[in-house]
């Protein structure tokens, strides 16, 4: 059931029950390409629909969105990305201790889980990944690091993610990858976009 929340004169916020419904609604809106809709911002339980008020109105967008019949076809089409990770992050031992398991078991659970890009944000190319292993649930660091290197693989709450560029951040770092999350020379610079499935693969440290 989609609930529409007022969001000013140039957007509508559509709220649904869960992430699956949000991804399905996002895919349906993307495929429908409604006139006057200029941007879609998928999130955990919402899709923000930005519109051009010279072309359409919030009321018209609400009506057209309500008429859509979101399926799960959009998710199935989004593909899978495999990301090689060297599991030597500075927080790996602490994460293992918090979860009461060994570091190897953290790696086994991270590589064993099936992850899905729920939404993007924080930085270009940063995808929030939700996994199917509920035991991987750790709090953010109490004090964020001022600089995290690009390619760092982190955990926060039940999300996982990979920092696309050097940036500050508070996630628990368990490893790093050479995969490029954000590359402006690609037609679609972000490697991880909503709906894409992700698996992590442990690789030995090079050199």
């Amino acid at each position: 059931m989609t609930r529409f929340l007022r969001c000013g004169r140039e957007a509508v916020l559509a709220e649904v029950d869960d992430l699956d419904a949000a991804l399905a609604l996002y895919a349906a809106l993307r495929d429908a390409a409604l006139p006057g809709v200029v941007d879609l911002v998928p999130a955990a339980r919402t899709v923000l629909i930005r519109l051009d008020p010279a072309v359409t109105s919030p009321a018209a967008v609400r009506e057209a969105t309500a008429a859509l019949r979101p399926g799960d076809a959009g998710r199935a089409d989004s593909g899978t990305v495999r990301i090689p990770v060297v599991y030597d992050g500075p927080d790996l031992a602490e994460v293992a201790e918090r979860l009461g398991i060994t570091a190897d078991e953290v790696v086994a659970r991270h590589t064993g889980a099936r992850w899905t890009v729920a939404f993007s944000g924080f930085a270009p190319g940063f995808g929030y990944l939700t996994g199917d292993d509920p035991t991987l649930d750790v709090p953010r660091r109490t004090s964020p690091r001022t600089r995290i290197p690009a390619g760092s693989v982190g955990l926060a709450g039940r999300f996982s993610g990979v920092y696309p560029n050097d940036s500050p951040g508070g996630w628990q770092l368990i490893g790093s990858t050479t995969a490029r999350m954000w590359d402006l020379s690609r037609a679609e610079p972000a490697l991880l976009v909503p709906g894409v499935r992700v698996t992590f693969r442990a690789v030995p440290r090079c050199g």
């Binding site: 000013g8 004169r9 200029v38 911002v41 999130a43 955990a44 939404f119 993007s120 270009p124 995808g127």
Partner: protein, 281 residues
């Protein structure tokens, strides 16, 4: 056009970078969209041409070839070789002349349009510098030569009288998360005076004033926001999102400014006092 000085901050801006939110890219674009659009109209440019967004004046550029420029947004004065040429109208500039933007007494961001538009390479379809994400052209620096596009075929035409300077409270529509606040918090939000804190930029304006108390303390999953959205973090002090706002925020948005009010917010200086009021429906 050669950049001689940039003042405190000058960036290249256009109508923004829509369509990439799913990749984590903000809409960006001119912070005061009305002033930006008017600068292009005065210069005879099509909508969407790139201009210079100059915060608190101090910009100096020179032109190798004759040009037509227009300045909007604040009461800063455009000078050509040191002579005041006014603002809010098309100004012809001879080859070799130096054009400067004085420090405004009112407002924050001036828009300098050049007929033909600034023709740097677009990134993801936009020539706007996104100051949060680092997407788009570099900030111009002294010595930089900025290419100017071919002038449009149409002659310069007047876009009419300048819009009257709006006064009074900033108009908002409540939502999407006004139901996360107590009735008293809504009344405070729509009645109290807030002061613009110094920690403002093209991403957001932080406000000092009475804290807004939430009626729900549950975690709100991150969700998209728009320019002009008023987010309330746990300390209860509102933040008005501006053009370079991040794609998701984890705190409830109590209200969204009207587009006109969001343009006015773009011109607020630290220390300014403001009130919010409900926009007519």
């Amino acid at each position: 056009m050669t950049v001689l000085r940039t003042g405190p901050m000058t960036v290249i801006k256009d109508a923004g970078r829509p369509g990439h939110a799913y990749q984590g890219v903000a809409p960006s674009g001119a912070v005061d969209r009305g002033a930006y659009a008017r600068a292009n109209a005065l210069a005879g440019n099509p909508p969407g041409a790139a201009v210079l967004e100059c915060t608190l004046g101090g910009l100096r550029v020179s032109f190798d070839e004759p040009a037509v420029v227009a300045l909007t947004g604040t009461d800063a004065v455009l000078t050509v070789d040191g002579t005041a040429a006014g603002d809010d109208r098309p100004v012809p500039v001879p080859a070799g002349a130096v054009v400067a933007v004085t420090v405004p007494r009112r407002g924050l961001r001036s828009y300098l349009a050049v007929r033909g538009g600034i023709d740097v390479a677009p990134v993801l379809g936009s020539r706007s510098t996104d100051q949060l994400a680092g997407v788009g052209p570099e900030r111009p620096a002294p010595g930089d030569v900025l290419p100017i596009g071919a002038p449009p075929a149409d002659p310069v035409s007047s876009p009419g009288a300048p819009p009257p300077t709006a006064e009074g409270p900033l108009e908002v529509d409540l939502g999407p998360r006004d139901d996360w606040f107590t009735t008293e918090a809504i009344a405070t939000f729509l009645g109290a005076e807030y002061t613009v804190s110094p920690a403002g930029n093209a991403i957001g304006l932080r406000l000092d004033g009475p804290a807004l108390i939430r009626s729900r303390t549950a975690e709100l999953p991150s969700e998209g926001v728009v320019r002009g959205a008023v987010q309330v973090p746990p300390d209860g002090r509102p933040i008005i999102f501006q053009a370079d706002h991040p794609v998701t925020g984890g705190y409830p948005v109590i209200a969204v400014l009207t587009p006109e009010a969001a343009d006015r917010a773009a011109q607020l200086r630290p220390g300014a006092t403001i009130r919010f009021t409900r926009a007519p429906q």
